[in-house]
């Protein structure tokens, strides 16, 4: 029997008159690799911030690992890992110091924090830069460090906001390897991404949000059967085709930029 690790009920967030997230109902099961997609400004980051306790919902409930986030935030934070939008890294620490510190923030003892930091630096191919300040890292190195910081305490659920944005192919491969390993060991991943090819390859389930509302959700197969495109040749739809069909598609630009 499947176990629900993340559920939202009528989750809502407003900023003044703007409704960023509108009665969102989400359900993610254990060991699912859930891709949360949507165009810019659709409400993805606002949702992930509410799920991780960075933003208070204006309404609705969030349940993570069976616990109500509003009442058990400390317990939930102990059991989840997060790569937030801005990465939130202490940039004046070296990579090694940062991982060590984050491990201890989550209650690991000194020896275990150091041991896991070393392993993660090795795995992430950051060992040669372990003594460099994070401020001097490249964007890809920072992303890898942020992911290492998110998993160092052995979380059960990972929330990742655009983990592949601005990351080169080598770094992306490392990140993917780590995430697949995490899922294989019983973890659950909830990620937002603009890189549809990566989502298509990695994610078992997908949710598409537009204007704060969920407009499609399910496994890739379910989405393929649910979406019909007029005049399509019958081959399996790619995630990009599904996405464009669901959120409104690209405008015809033959008429504009005629000089280009």
């Amino acid at each position: 029997m499947s176990e629900t690790v993340l559920q939202t009920v009528s989750l809502r967030r407003t900023f003044g008159p703007l409704v960023a997230v509108d009665n969102l109902d989400l359900k993610v099961e254990k060991q699912q690799f859930y891709g949360f997609l949507g165009p810019n400004g659709a409400g993805k980051s606002t949702t992930i911030k509410m799920l991780t306790g960075l933003l208070k919902p204006s309404g609705g409930q969030v349940y993570i690992l069976g616990l109500d986030l509003a009442k058990n935030s400390v317990e939930i934070k102990r059991r989840i890992g997060v790569v937030p939008e801005g990465l939130a890294l202490f940039e004046r620490l070296t990579g090694a110091q940062l991982l060590n510190f984050v491990g201890r923030m989550y209650g690991l003892d000194r020896a275990k924090a150091a041991e896991r930091s070393a392993e993660l630096l090795e795995f992430m191919d950051l060992k040669d830069s372990a003594d460099k300040l994070v401020a001097d890292y490249s964007h890809g190195m920072k992303k890898k460090t942020a992911l290492a910081a998110a998993v160092i305490h052995g979380p059960e659920v990972l929330f990742l906001d655009e983990p592949f944005e601005g990351v080169d192919a080598i770094a992306a491969t490392t990140l993917k390897r780590l995430l697949q390993r995490f899922i294989a060991h019983g973890g659950t991943v909830f990620l937002t991404s603009h890189v549809l090819e990566v989502v298509e390859r990695l994610c078992t389930h997908i949710g598409i949000i537009q204007n704060g509302r969920m407009v499609a959700s399910g496994s890739l197969e379910e989405l393929r059967t649910g979406v019909k495109i007029a005049g399509h040749d019958g081959s399996p739809l790619t995630l990009e085709e599904i996405f464009l069909q669901v959120v409104g598609g690209a405008k015809q630009d033959a008429e504009v930029l005629s000089w280009l």
Binding site: V74, R92, L93, A96, M105
Partner: protein, 502 residues
Amino acid sequence: MQVVSFVLGALLVFGICGAFFAGTLALLKSEQPEFLDLLLWAIFLVWQFAPVLFEGYSPGLNFREVARYPVSFRTYFLLNAVYGASDPAALACLLWLLSMWVGILIAQPAWALIAVPAFLLFALFNLFCNRIIIGLFDRFQSTRKGRERMVAVMLVVMLLPQLLQLATANWTNFKLLKIPGWVLDVITPIRRMAPPGVVARALLLDGGEKLVPLLLLGFYSLVVWWLLRRQLRAVYEGEIYAEGYTVKRELKVQPGWRLPGVDEVISAIVEKELHYIRQNARMIVQFVYPMILFLFLSFSRAGKNFFFSRSSAGLLASMAGFLLLSLPNLAYNIFGMDGEAFGRWLLSPLPLRKVLLGKNLTHGGILSAFYLIAAAIVISVSQISWLPAVTVTAAFFAVLVIQLGAGNLCSVYWPKRIELTRMNSRMASSAAGLASLLVVLPVGAISGAVGFAAWYWKLPWLPPVASLVGLALAFVLYPYLLNRAVNYSYDHLEEIAASLGA
């Protein structure tokens, strides 16, 4: 405001024009033309270093960006030179050179003609030389470490006049100061061969002999032109300064610290905060400066008169005051250096109360260590009696604890992201700075009242008792302020995070 500073700047420049004109006139009328080079040295130094000092406040025009546009190298070089010549410091120096030339024209008309090419070559030399220095400065500024070091150097440069003033307060008679002979032996040939001296010789020498210094000046200008051309060519062809390299080394992650008497998490926070301070030159300067100022003051004549003639307790108290002055930089914007990493505290299962406690323990610990070391020195040197020592020490810790508590509140009421690489990025918001004053002023008033009462009614026990009561009150007040700060921050997390860029 900009108009006012422009008018004031223009008045200053024109005032100095008058000074250069009068100086030239006076030197030539009093038949001391050999000192003309001193005026030229002043121009040389301002031209070379004023633009660098001002560039410390703003990045200016980035010529690496200009090189992206479709311009030929010749145009690129010319743009760089014109940009350099239009710098306010360069324009001021050109005006001062012109003032000197007018002075020469009036006092020694025969020299006016040769002064034209000499001054022009001198101006060209200065222009190219300054552009080379700016290029080197840009190269230094292109890395984070370089920028931060530069901010620290700027701070030291800004603080230096105060220290010099204190250091020279002991020199009552400047005429007694004698420059050693070996110094003169070194300075004289440099003065003679350096461009300002060469310009002066071009004026002083007779007939055809003038040609030699003129040719030498031309040679100097040619050398700096060639060096600048070489430097700009490298940038034009795509040299990227910030490209770094990684030193491969064996990976060894040391276990974190374990401090006695505090739990694992607070130990980790203290360790993290100390790493942050240690890796920040600007913060170190701001921490250490009050101590240096205190040392200078205590050894200067004015300081000795003030402190030692009355009581040594004054010395101890002033040192405590200097130390407490550096606290608001850290304690009144406690999350400022974390910036967007403030979000990391929120994502972790740590209660904010523990985070604030850990940070307070670090800042308080550093200041306490400084105080105890300095107090031990003062007490051993001045043989201060125990009563004033206890009074000052208890008062110091009372104010320290109150400042830390008040700082927590200000840190969440008025958080401000600190940009360590920007000179004009303040360490705390203006409101927090004002709040720190509002804490210090009543403390000062109460201390003054207690001191007066003790003196008026001859109650020597009153100050130490008042200090100890103050310390006890501070420890009662601190948890209340801490709780308020924590409660406020949980209610305003989003605003705090937004202010810090999280």
